[in-house]
């Protein structure tokens, strides 16, 4: 009963803000495209990489809404297929980074002392190199490719979660109910799992929502500079990097993939903003 009332309140909050609704709509659309992609694209044959040179680099028309690419494939088809890869990679990076960062952060926040000092200094160190530069250094070491790009981005991303979880855990540690649990004889692992983690979850969920968008952007960025997915893969960033070679005469080639990146990042950002208003209303909205 209480849960459904809470949900209704949350839905009401969300529906009151135009920005949050726009975010929800955009994210839902991207998720649907990723799920249904292969069944709804206008030219399913173009997914596997069929070549039809008569159709190459056609401008937008009724048959090809966003034109065709250099081997005659429908651009819209390839971009819709790319949604699945981008979304999976964005979610994968975010969850992996949170899975590394959150336990470390909670550990640092509750343990204190040398453990905290070590974890936080290493975190600071990773945060001291601008993200994409560090990612490029890692990809240069690991070798280019979508999997290595993902590994590099996870390695760049986890420190943010340590910072967040640590600051939450630090403030929760002082709360009376934690003390009560300790006095009642609850083992520390149980306190961490049952009390500290659930109570620090809200800002982490908000950050994860925003980070999925940013991770999609980061993977596309690496694809664009040629260190991520390799071109025949329908990845948005890699598509733009090819399209760049066909500017300015075939300008429409670059429009569609970029617009999809923009829409997904915007969607996850707006949704994160809306979630923050519901889950974490007291936080500072810088």
């Amino acid at each position: 009963m209480a849960a459904s009332r809470g949900l209704r309140l949350a839905a009401w909050h969300l529906s009151r803000s135009f920005a949050s609704m726009l975010g929800l709509v955009l994210v839902t659309a991207i998720v649907l495209l990723a799920l249904l992609g292969p069944w709804i694209v206008p030219y399913p044959d173009d997914v596997a990489g069929s070549v039809s040179l008569i159709n190459k680099l056609k401008p937008p028309s009724a048959a090809h809404w966003f034109g065709t690419d250099e081997v005659g494939n429908d651009i819209l088809t390839r971009v819709i297929i790319g949604a699945r890869l981008s979304l999976l990679v964005g979610i994968g990076i975010t969850f992996a980074a949170a899975a590394i960062g959150v336990p470390l952060g909670i550990l640092a926040g509750t343990a204190g002392g040398a453990v905290r000092e070590t974890i936080m200094r290493v975190t600071d160190l990773f945060l001291s190199v601008p993200g994409l530069v560090l990612a490029i250094a890692l990809v240069a070491a690991l070798g280019p490719g979508i999997v290595n790009a993902m590994i590099a981005l996870v390695l760049v991303w986890w420190p943010g979660y340590v910072r967040l979880a640590e600051s939450k855990a630090l403030s929760i540690r002082e709360e009376p109910f934690i003390e009560a649990a300790r006095v009642a004889g609850a083992p520390s692992l149980r306190i961490l799992w049952r009390h500290v983690l659930p109570n620090s979850l809200s800002p982490i969920i908000v950050k994860m929502s925003m980070d999925i968008g940013q991770a999609i952007l980061a993977v596309a960025s690496l694809g664009f500079i040629g260190l991520g997915a390799k071109p025949p893969t329908p990845e948005w960033g890699a598509m733009i990097s090819i399209a760049r070679g066909y500017l300015p005469d075939w300008w429409w080639y670059a429009i569609c993939p970029g617009a999809f990146i923009y829409a997904s990042v915007l969607g996850f950002n707006l949704l994160g903003d809306g979630l923050r208003d519901i889950l974490d209303p007291r936080s500072n909205r810088g």
Partner: protein
């Protein structure tokens, strides 16, 4: 205050050492053989062995690390395999270009962000406020490389108002560097034509680079200003007959300065990240483009050099920001 300074500098020194360690670790955890990387992608077995001896890669790791640190202390970043040039010298040439781009972008972000934030707080919930808010959200979500291409297409190719790429015209001989920042150098030499040329070249990439930063500054200034305009001391000042423009630009704005400063520190790193993309789009000869082209060519030393230099720069900026914080907010000095 002295203790605050001392602690802050000690921490910066520690971080710098950590950064050196981090690059060393990255170079050594790589699944690829570092000697093969150092010898270049086309090297044969004997060349790799030769590189291994030449770079001391056959020595135990602690000894290699010691050598790495001493080399860095002498400003020796190693050599690029692709060009054979010294990475240190390349960095000295490319870094000012990146710095100039970031400085101009930050200036745009500050001026536009603060004034737009102020305006949308003054006209809260008007159409102007809504438009700037949409603009602010877009600023963070727009892929910089795509937005760069669009601006290039619009302003350089179709309208022909601004040059497409590069730092100065192809036929112009770059002047001997004084500071390495072309805008400053051309002013120092009193060369108006060169100044105009470098300004027209830097405008588009700097705008693209400034957008996320502009958006954050805008949001913070808006919320701080909305808060401040409701505060008692502003009402009191208004009652004392302080002019409305003075109220806003002097009394209320002061409050937004600390959070804006914090954003500069944070966003400088983001900006340095985005230079990688923006410089690729606009062919801007800076460290970002250098890192990308080297990483693609499998040329390892330049990438590590850029990581070190950019990391060092980011640390210094944060150090300066922290010190300014201490100056602006006396409460922090004792903390």
């Amino acid at each position: 205050m002295f203790l605050y300074l001392l602690r802050r500098f000690a921490l910066a020194g520690l971080m710098l050492f950590g950064l050196v360690c981090l690059t060393f670790i990255i170079a050594n955890i790589a699944p690829a053989d570092p000697a093969a990387l150092a010898a270049g992608p086309d090297a044969g077995r004997s060349q790799i062995e030769q590189a291994r001896r030449e770079y001391g890669l056959d020595k135990p790791l602690p000894e290699q690390f010691l050598r790495y640190v001493t080399d860095l202390a002498h400003g020796e970043f190693g050599r690029s395999v692709a060009s054979g040039r010294s990475v240190g010298r390349d960095l000295a040439r490319y870094f000012p270009a990146t710095l100039e781009l970031c400085l101009v972008a930050m200036t745009i972000g500050l001026i536009a962000g603060i004034s737009l934030g102020m305006l949308s707080a003054l006209f809260k919930d008007s159409w102007l406020d809504h438009i700037t808010r949409i603009f602010a959200v877009s600023g963070i979500a727009l892929p910089p490389f795509w937005f760069g291409l669009l601006l290039q297409l619009g302003f350089a190719v179709w309208l022909g108002w601004l040059p497409t790429s590069g730092r100065i015209g192809v036929s112009t001989e770059p002047p001997d560097p004084i500071t390495g920042l072309l805008l400053v150098d051309s002013l120092l030499r009193g060369d108006g034509a060169l100044f105009g040329q470098s300004l027209s070249h830097i405008l588009l990439p700097a705008i693209v680079l400034s957008l996320p930063c502009l958006a954050s500054i805008l949001r913070v200034n808006r919320s701080e200003m909305v808060e401040a305009l409701r505060a008692d001391y502003i009402t009191a000042a208004r009652a004392h007959g302080v002019a409305p423009w003075r109220l806003v630009t002097v009394h209320a704005l002061k409050n937004a300065m600390l959070p804006t400063l914090a954003i500069i520190g944070l966003r400088w790193g983001w900006m340095m990240s985005s230079t990688v993309l923006v410089e690729t789009v606009f062919d801007w000869p800076g460290t970002g483009l250098y890192a990308v082209s080297s990483a693609i060519a499998g040329d390892f030393k330049p990438v590590m050099g850029v990581t070190l230099i950019v990391g060092l720069n980011f640390m210094l900026v944060n150090l300066v920001v922290d010190l300014l914080y201490g100056v602006l907010d006396p409460r922090l000095r004792d903390a």
